[in-house]
Subunit: 136 residues, 3 copies
């Protein structure tokens, strides 16, 4: 029964969830390093960049999961899962880049944006085909 | 095989994901307009309203997706998908209203809250019926 | 047909979505109590703790939903759903604790972190088994 399940999408999703947890953890470590006690969210530039890097990942995480699964189920699971892996790499580039300097978040940001666009386009193609199959 | 897939839920989900991306983009444009470089998130009232409008959408996006799919699968796909379209319209009203003036976010907010409640109630009804089917 | 659907995961998801909505509502009530008009997000410590308590729930909500469903589908639905209930309890402990005093958020935070780790580990085990079934 489980042999029909989209195991690659699930694997990439769990990996991305762990990566999100790891980013939250690094915000916690940055709090300790600079002694910034919750609920305070302002402080030295490095802390604020770390905090915002995580927030940006949060802002896009649900969008990523939605597009990953719809692209993977309606278009192609392997292609979407590979896209998901590239997204995680882009998120890590974004996070580590942003912490060092604001501008260094950009390469990761472009990569992440490209993957989201790619997943959205492939999802739309897959939905269009499934729509024709189902209703016409 | 793809003819069994909830294609309307998928279509509304991708549309809502693109709308979320568009809102993030407008925060970026507002940053450029007022020259507010990340990680700064404070500035002129218009920028702060734009920033918070997007944040509010982010806060509710995963809730929306969860209720949309559960309502659509356990209650009725067409009804849930139409609810999802109204939600996106409400989010756009909220966003554009909020940018012009804080109080103008309210009509969109009420519409969005109504749709979420509607999806939650229909989801609960569908779950209750499925629970009776499966366990009793 | 509906008798095959993961009704327990759906029920816990809707419950958690309502709990998220309730937390957002309490931020709104805190705004009224301290007369803090949007888009302002700073104010007396109690308001800032309430605001941040909600934000933390938002940051983890999509991660929770992803792990809940993958653990429930690939490992065991009943176990994952019970984990989800404990997560909601932990979130409530976190929220009410945080509002009273920053340090009192910690018991709920540890419980919530433990559940997420548990769901991630069970999800990984389930994915590993499904991967062997499907590809080997």
């Amino acid at each position: 029964m489980t042999s029909d399940l989209p195991v690659l999408l699930a694997a990439v999703s769990v990996l991305s969830a762990l990566h999100m947890g790891f980013q939250a953890r690094r915000v916690g470590w940055s709090r300790m390093k600079f002694k910034i006690v919750p609920p305070i969210v302002t402080g030295p530039p490095e802390f604020e960049r770390t905090f915002r890097a995580h927030q940006n990942s949060v802002e896009f995480y649900a969008i990523f999961v939605v597009l990953l699964w719809i692209s993977g189920i309606f278009f192609n699971e392997v292609v979407a899962a590979l896209g998901g892996l590239v997204y995680i790499v882009g998120r890590e580039m974004y996070f580590t880049g942003y912490i060092s300097e604001s501008k260094r978040r950009l390469p990761g940001f472009y990569l992440v944006s490209f993957v989201l666009l790619f997943l959205a386009v492939t999802a739309a193609i897959g939905i269009f085909q499934a729509f024709l199959d189902k209703y016409l």
